[in-house]
Each structure stands twice: as structure tokens, then as C-alpha cells.
């Protein structure tokens, strides 16, 4: 295959960045998108240029490290597929491909296509856990959990934290990520004792980070490589309202 690439190059956080054109020839349809970038980088190094910096690690669609916006869509054109699992057979010979980093105010661009997604870790630190001291847990079968509840929690837990939801949202909202973690933990009996505390605190951390507001576009779900449903957002909306009202009544009472 023959391709024209327009790749975002940015030296560091302070640089303003620009799209740079590259020409690629002889790309196998069976190679993955990142392998195509590997080859481009090899040729850049051979010429003595700096290769394009991009994040990647497991290359099997689970670590959530890869973070490319390909032709305007986070992770590219294939549904339920991370950029690392995207293969060149999804593109046409002669096509021009634009590659940009995930863009959002809390995700500062570190270099080229690499962004800082630590704001996600901060949201989890605010309450994305069940407090259980090591060794103090009861038997795993002590609390039966219905298959449907456990499946629901698993659906939510499938999030890989890649932040494509934020990158795709016109408002850079982190609601899909936040609501998925909250829904997973809050739907399980183990998570109930900290339910309200968890969601109030995680939402305020999310707001504090500078993510935008959810206005129900649904772009997040559409690009999510794990197909996380916006039901979790609805679920969070409902529970947050309940928790806030409860909290309000407590202070009045």
C-alpha cells in the first residue's frame, strides 16, 4: 500500500505543534497501524531525524496506552478497536491519513502524539476503590451476587482507561470513564458502604480536573474500544442526584 500521512509533531508541552507530511510506500495490509508507524520511525532514524513519539505498550488492545486520533476519530475508523489493533486493511491504497494526539485541556501534550492522562488516575484516587484491608476479606462465596449484577459490573469494569471517550467528546467530558468505574463498584454489594461518598468525591475530582460537561452526544460510546454503554452515565446521573439530595437533607436535618 501507498499512503500519505499527516502527523502531529510537537517538541514539548510549550511548543505549538503542527502537522507534518510523510509518504509511506510498500505497507502490507496485514501490518497493524502501529507497525506502520514503527516502519516510518525506522526510516526517520535512518535519515537521522527524530522518530515520532507515540504511546503504545501491550499492542493487544487491553493496556489502554495507545492514544491516537486517526482521521478525526480516536483509535480510528474500526468500531470496538484500539489503535494498536487496527490493521492497515481498514484503509484504502493511496489514502491520506491524519494522525493527531487525544485533545483535551487536562491532557497536556507531552510530545508529538503522547499526552498526559494522569487526570484519570486522580479520578480513581478520589474514590475508585473499595476499602478493604489486605487479608481481611470474607470468603469469596460469602456474598452471592446474581449473575446479572455481576455481568453488569463486568460490563462497566471492561473500561481500559484509554481516554478515547474524552478525546471524542465534543466537550472533552470524562463522564463515560468516571461513570463506568462508579457503576462497577456501586452495583456490587461490596461497594455499597462507600457508594455516596465515592460518587460525590469522584465527580468533584472529575470537575476539578477541567473536563467538560456531558451533553449526551454519545460520541464516547461510539468510539469506545470496549463498547462501554452510556447507560452508566444515566446511572451515575440518577445516583448522583439521589446522593446529593440525601446529603442536602442531612445538612438541613
Amino acid at each position: 500500500m501507498r499512503l500519505k500521512l499527516k502527523v502531529w509533531r510537537q517538541k514539548d508541552q510549550l511548543d505549538s505543534g503542527r502537522l507534518v507530511d510523510y509518504q509511506m510506500d510498500n505497507i502490507s495490509e496485514d501490518s497493524s497501524f502501529l507497525e506502520m508507524l514503527d516502519l516510518l520511525n525506522e526510516s526517520l532514524v535512518e535519515k537521522g531525524d527524530e522518530p515520532i513519539a507515540f504511546d503504545h505498550d501491550c499492542r493487544e488492545g487491553i493496556c489502554g496506552m495507545c492514544s491516537l486520533t486517526i482521521n478525526g476519530i480516536p483509535h480510528g475508523p474500526e468500531k470496538l478497536t484500539t489503535a494498536c489493533q487496527l490493521h492497515m486493511r481498514s484503509f484504502k491504497n493511496g489514502e491520506t491519513i491524519t494522525i493527531e494526539p487525544f485533545r483535551s485541556k487536562p491532557f497536556k501534550i507531552t510530545k508529538d502524539l503522547i499526552v498526559d492522562r494522569s487526570a484519570f488516575d486522580k479520578i480513581i484516587e478520589a474514590g475508585g476503590f473499595i476499602s478493604v484491608r489486605t487479608g481481611s476479606a470474607p470468603d469469596g462465596n460469602a456474598i452471592p451476587i446474581s449473575k446479572s449484577d455481576s455481568d453488569y459490573a463486568m460490563d462497566a469494569a471492561a473500561c481500559i482507561g484509554c481516554a478515547a471517550c474524552v478525546a471524542a467528546c465534543k466537550n472533552s467530558s470524562a463522564m463515560l470513564f468516571t461513570s463506568a468505574k462508579i457503576s462497577q463498584l456501586n452495583s456490587l454489594p461490596q461497594g455499597k458502604p462507600e457508594k455516596d461518598r465515592r460518587l460525590l468525591s469522584m465527580v468533584s475530582e472529575m470537575d476539578r480536573s477541567g473536563f467538560g460537561n456531558c451533553t449526551n452526544y454519545g460520541e464516547c460510546h461510539a468510539v469506545c474500544p470496549k463498547g462501554i454503554s452510556v447507560d452508566f452515565i444515566a446511572n451515575l446521573n440518577r445516583d448522583y442526584a439521589k446522593a446529593s439530595v440525601k446529603n442536602l437533607l442531612k445538612t438541613i436535618g
Partner: protein, 638 residues
């Protein structure tokens, strides 16, 4: 080199219990006086950091990824073993212990393995309490599946993402400790050296991967949880960033490296499609529960449509050779059998390096929906990568390097031969012997991190007392300088070849001569080839960019430097071990039927290598293995 394993006295069932009682404790109000460094944030690293932080120690945790949640433990698909016997099928701690010892081809340490089997049950409880959504039955109880190398159903799983869910559990516990300030997390930091003060591990040197800064960190103890070294083969199922640097630097500072030749080649990976390939993708071994492995009986059928080949013209070679375990034969055996049939010229797919994993029977028995529910994500992944639909035609699979049983030598307390340097998870050598059973890696990582190290570390700390050195001290300055020197040297060579090209070449040498089957001639050649490749590297490598910046070429170069030395050590160990056991198969040592032949008389020991300097050959030490409970026998899965 002192290889006293410090195995506690008493019957095997009571060793850990007795040990926990006898070892020293650090009283809760004193814990804050101690500082601990943990390198790596996978299952072992994150669980240990969370637990130690919760106990009140000051913990600094380092990882090279942008978040602790991304460590490669996340990629484990199939499950985690535990001797819960929830299925009432005759499982017990003793059976898990026995299976693991046998699966490891009698090359692991009995006491460690028994402890692992005991702790397996606690892990499940802990993870359930953390909100890990393990699969459940309609009655609400935990579900299990069976896995290679076992005849009971003891594997707990969370769809095809067990590793991810367990890691997220540990990561959430870690996050809680980060939020309280008890753990300080340093992401995008790579450990480049271990620092010893008075022969004790007291700190590390890291490179900040964003700014390029080289920093020194001191502590009372250093814990390495830095994973395995499968990437020495270049193409493996490991994440592209996985590396041996931390372990290798510790080895160079005096930690013994045990059994580097024990590498596991996983039988169910997607075959390579071309030279552009950067990594291989694993398909969970659980697929073998329902898939049947076969190749055409006749070479001529290899390139024809598999669906057109009639049953009598297919060779279900695992079912034929191992009737009682069949498609669930352990990994090393399955992998080697695949290689055998491909060597016979009966392989399928590009380059005839592949075998079929066929779901047609399972689909006609249970229906496509049931199969989709069990393995849907794997089938989807297979289609994304190969463009083929595995519901309609058999998958093609081929073995790939996946896990490394070898690692830094540790005693029963998980301490390496350097006092104060502890090693957990895949980075150590302790529990899997010469071959790891499926669904046991997650178990070991979490057992080490949650339940073993927090006790044994306290014992060490209580013995040496709080004594964190100044990170500006002499030893730290020297270590920093040597790290800086290497960086400068790499950037100054400005030769003609990329780092990646060296890594690929190293990988080819390793895979061809030290892969699934090894022999004396190949290994000897490999050693000299690697050594000349290394020389070429240092004269002809081209690393672009600066050191004071995010520079992925430089990161890769540093890792390849260590792989280039380590690969030689691996081959040396493989050459030295004149027997076949588990993942280590020496062609000279096999039965008439082609089965591995162990030599218990001469090789019932862990080979522990001591670094002697750049130009010197490392020295091998032995830790003799004692089998008091399970008598080594021929490992038969027929």
C-alpha cells in the same frame, strides 16, 4: 554466593504458618520510619505497594508506563487458579501444590509452591472484596473453568480479561494509598540501576522518561517487581516495553540470576504474518477447553481450505499423543508438539508455521451463542488481526514466547542474594520451576505482593533497622555517573543501524537457536553470534535525539543493551543444563518418542549465575532442590 533458601522447619503444611510466627514484626508506630522502593506496578508491585502503604510504611512506587494500571499483567486473559474446591471435584491445596510441582517438571522449590497453593484461596477472597467482577453462576456463586495441566476446575475468571480485572483491583487499592500520601507514585520513570550501600540494596537510579533527568532515590529496602524477559526474543506476547533492565542491573550488582533458560512458549498465539510484525498476540489458553487442535495428515492438504479436509485426513495430534489430557496438555508439551508437526511440513498458513484450533465440534454441540459468550472477545480479536472469522473456519495458532520462569534468585523470604533487594512476581524464579501452568502467573504475582512480601519484608526491616542513606551519597553519585555515561555513549555512536534492527536480529538468534528446541551446537553458535552482535551494536548503532527529553529511541536502546548481554546468559544456561525439562528442551535429551528426558541425578538444582565482570564468564552456583513430599517422576500427561 550464599544460596541459603531459608526454608522453615516443620512439615510442609505448617512451614509458612510457623515462619510467620517466628519472623520479626515492625510495630505499627515504627513503620512510618521505614522507606521502601517498589519498582513495577503490575500485580505484584501494585499489590505490595498497596499493602505496605496500608500497613504504614512510606512507599515509593515506580513504573515506566503513564499509569500503574497499564502494567502488562493486564494482558492475562484466561484466569487465576485457586484451590477453593468450589466445584466439589476433588481439588485441595495439596492437589494444586502437586499439579504446580509436576507442571514445573520438578524444578521448583517445594516449600514456596506449597505456600503459593495455600495463599491462592486468600487471593480470591481479597479480589472479590475489592470488587473484581469474577464470572458467576446463576445462583450467585463464583464460576470456574478448567485449564491446561489440571484435571479439576479451579480457574476463576472475569470474561477474557482476568488479568485486567485483577490488576485494576490492585491498582484501585494502590490508588487509595496514593490519595492518602502513603504511597508516592512515579510514572514514566525507568529504573536504570540498583544502588548498594554496605552490600545492602538501599536505592535505585531512575530516568524520568519525560524530562530525561537521572535521579537517585534511597530507601531501607528495594523491591523489584519488574516482570519477565520474553522480549529477548523480540517477538513475544509481552508488551513492547517489557524489559530485563531492572533485573539485569541487579544481577550486575551481585544478585544471582536463576534458571534464565526456563522460558515458556505459549501454544495458542496468532501466527506471524510478515516481517513488519512488532509483537505476537496471545489467544487465551482457555480456548483449548473447546477447541480441537489438528493439522492435515498429508502435506499436500496444508494450503487447502481446512473445511474441505475430511476427518480421517486430519491429525488431532494432541488427542492422539496424550489421550487423557488431550487438547489440555500443558503448555510446553502443546507448543513442542506444534513445532514437531510443522517441522514435519504439515503446518498451515503463511510459511507453514501454524496449526488449526477448530471450534466446529463445540459450535455444533453448544451452539454459536454459547461459544460467543465464552470466547466472543477472543474471536473478535482474532478477526481484527487476521481478517478471518473463526466461527466459520478454524483458527490458526502457533507458539510464541510468553512467560519466563527464570528470574532473580530469591530465598523463601523473596530476598535476592543482595540483602534488602526483594524480587516478586515473574521477575523472580521461585514457584514455577521449568514450566508454568496456565492461570498461575496471576496467582503468584498477587500471592507475593499481598500476602508474602509484607511479612518477610518486615522481618528484614526489623533486623536492619531504619537506616535510609542520603541519596546524595558517594554510591549514588557513582551509580548516577555510570548511567549518564552509558546514555552519552549511546547518543554519541551515531552509526548506521537502528536499535530495532539489532533487537530483531537478537530475537532471531534467540528464537532459532534457543527457542522451543535447543542443542549444543546451536547454543554455542548463538553465544558467539550474540557477542559479535553486541560489539557491532556498540560501534554501529544509531540513536537519535537528546538525553534531556522524551526519547523513545534512547529508552529502547538502553533496554536492548541489557538484552544483548542477557541473551548470552540465557544461552549459556541453556547450554549448561544438559537435560530437557519443562520449557527447556534439549534435542540431545529426549526419549524415542520425542518426550523430554530429565536428568534428576545431575540437574535437580536451580542454576544461579553470578556476574563476574564485563569480560568474564559468569559463574554458576547450585541450589539443590529437595523433594520430600512429591517424588519426582516422569511427567506424563498420556
Amino acid at each position: 554466593m550464599n544460596l541459603n533458601a531459608k526454608i522453615p522447619e516443620g512439615p510442609i503444611e505448617n512451614k509458612w504458618e510457623n515462619h510467620k510466627f517466628r519472623i520479626k514484626l515492625v510495630n505499627p508506630s515504627n513503620r512510618r520510619k521505614y522507606n521502601v522502593i517498589i519498582v513495577g506496578s503490575g500485580l505484584a508491585g501494585a499489590s505490595a505497594a498497596a499493602t505496605l502503604g496500608e500497613l504504614g510504611y512510606n512507599v515509593k512506587c515506580f513504573c515506566y508506563q503513564d499509569s500503574p494500571r497499564r502494567a502488562h499483567s493486564i494482558a492475562a486473559q484466561g484466569g487465576i487458579n485457586a484451590a477453593k474446591n468450589y466445584q466439589n471435584d476433588g481439588d485441595s491445596v495439596h492437589r494444586l501444590f502437586y499439579d504446580t510441582i509436576k507442571g514445573g517438571d520438578f524444578r521448583s522449590r517445594e516449600a514456596n509452591v506449597h505456600r503459593l497453593a495455600e495463599l491462592s484461596v486468600n487471593i480470591i477472597d481479597q479480589c472479590v472484596a475489592q470488587g473484581v467482577p469474577f464470572a458467576r453462576e446463576y445462583g450467585g456463586l463464583l464460576a470456574n473453568r478448567s485449564f491446561g495441566g489440571a484435571q479439576v476446575s479451579r480457574t476463576f475468571y472475569a470474561r477474557g480479561q482476568t488479568g485486567q480485572q485483577l490488576l485494576l483491583g490492585a491498582y484501585s487499592a494502590l490508588s487509595k494509598q496514593i490519595s492518602t500520601g502513603q504511597v508516592q507514585m512515579y510514572t514514566r520513570h525507568e529504573m536504570l540501576d540498583l544502588v548498594l550501600v554496605d552490600d545492602h540494596a538501599k536505592g535505585i537510579i531512575t530516568r524520568n522518561l519525560i524530562s530525561g533527568e537521572i535521579d537517585a532515590w534511597s530507601a531501607d529496602a528495594v523491591i523489584l517487581a519488574t516482570g519477565g524477559y520474553s522480549n529477548v526474543f523480540f517477538l513475544s506476547t509481552n508488551a513492547t516495553g517489557c524489559n530485563v533492565t531492572a533485573s539485569y542491573r541487579a544481577y550486575k550488582k551481585g544478585a544471582g540470576f536463576a534458571n534464565p533458560c526456563y522460558t515458556q512458549i505459549h501454544p495458542t498465539c496468532i501466527p506471524q504474518s510478515g516481517g513488519h510484525q512488532s509483537k505476537l498476540t496471545l489467544m487465551s489458553e482457555s480456548l483449548r477447553n473447546d477447541g480441537r487442535v489438528w493439522v492435515p495428515l498429508n502435506k499436500n492438504d496444508c494450503q487447502s481450505d481446512p473445511r474441505s479436509i475430511s476427518d480421517e485426513n486430519r491429525d488431532y495430534y494432541l488427542e492422539r499423543k496424550y489421550p487423557s489430557f488431550g487438547n489440555l496438555a500443558p503448555r510446553d508439551i502443546s507448543s513442542r508438539s506444534a513445532k514437531e508437526v510443522c517441522d514435519e511440513g504439515r503446518g498451515v498458513g503463511p510459511g507453514n508455521r501454524g496449526v488449526y484450533l477448530d471450534f466446529a465440534d463445540a459450535i455444533s454441540r453448544h451452539g454459536e451463542n454459547t461459544i460467543a459468550e465464552k470466547y466472543g472477545n477472543l474471536f473478535d480479536m482474532y478477526e481484527r488481526i487476521t481478517g478471518e472469522n473463526a466461527y466459520k473456519r478454524p483458527m490458526r495458532i502457533y507458539p510464541a514466547p510468553h512467560y519466563t520462569m527464570g528470574g532473580l534468585w530469591v530465598d523463601y523470604n523473596l530476598m535476592s542474594t543482595i540483602p534488602g533487594c526483594f524480587v516478586m512476581g515473574e521477575a523472580n524464579f521461585s514457584d514455577h520451576g521449568a514450566n508454568r501452568l496456565g492461570a498461575s502467573a496471576l496467582m503468584q504475582g498477587l500471592a507475593d505482593g499481598y500476602f508474602v512480601l509484607p511479612y518477610t519484608l518486615a522481618n528484614y526491616l526489623a533486623e536492619v533497622g531504619a537506616n535510609k542513606p542520603d541519596p546524595e551519597g558517594e554510591q549514588f553519585k557513582t551509580a548516577k555517573k555510570s548511567v549518564n555515561d552509558q546514555t552519552k555513549k549511546l547518543l554519541s555512536i551515531n552509526g548506521n543501524r537502528t536499535v530495532r534492527s539489532f533487537h530483531i536480529e537478537l530475537g532471531q538468534i534467540m528464537w532459532n537457536k534457543c527457542g522451543m528446541a535447543r542443542n549444543e551446537k546451536g547454543l554455542t553458535e548463538a553465544i558467539s553470534q550474540i557477542s559479535s552482535l553486541r560489539e557491532q551494536f556498540w560501534s554501529d548503532v544509531k540513536v537519535t535525539g537528546k538525553d534531556s527529553d522524551l526519547n523513545q529511541e534512547l529508552e529502547r536502546a538502553g533496554r536492548v543493551v541489557d538484552f544483548l548481554e542477557f541473551g548470552e546468559l540465557l544461552c549459556r544456561d541453556a547450554l549448561n543444563r544438559k537435560e530437557s525439562c519443562g520449557g527447556h528442551f534439549r534435542e540431545e535429551y529426549q526419549s524415542h518418542e520425542g518426550e523430554a528426558e530429565r536428568d534428576d541425578e545431575n540437574f535437580s538444582h536451580a542454576s544461579v549465575w553470578e556476574y563476574k565482570g564485563e569480560k568474564e564468564t559468569p559463574i554458576k552456583h547450585k541450589e539443590e532442590l529437595e523433594f520430600n513430599v512429591v517424588k519426582p517422576s516422569v511427567r506424563s500427561y498420556k
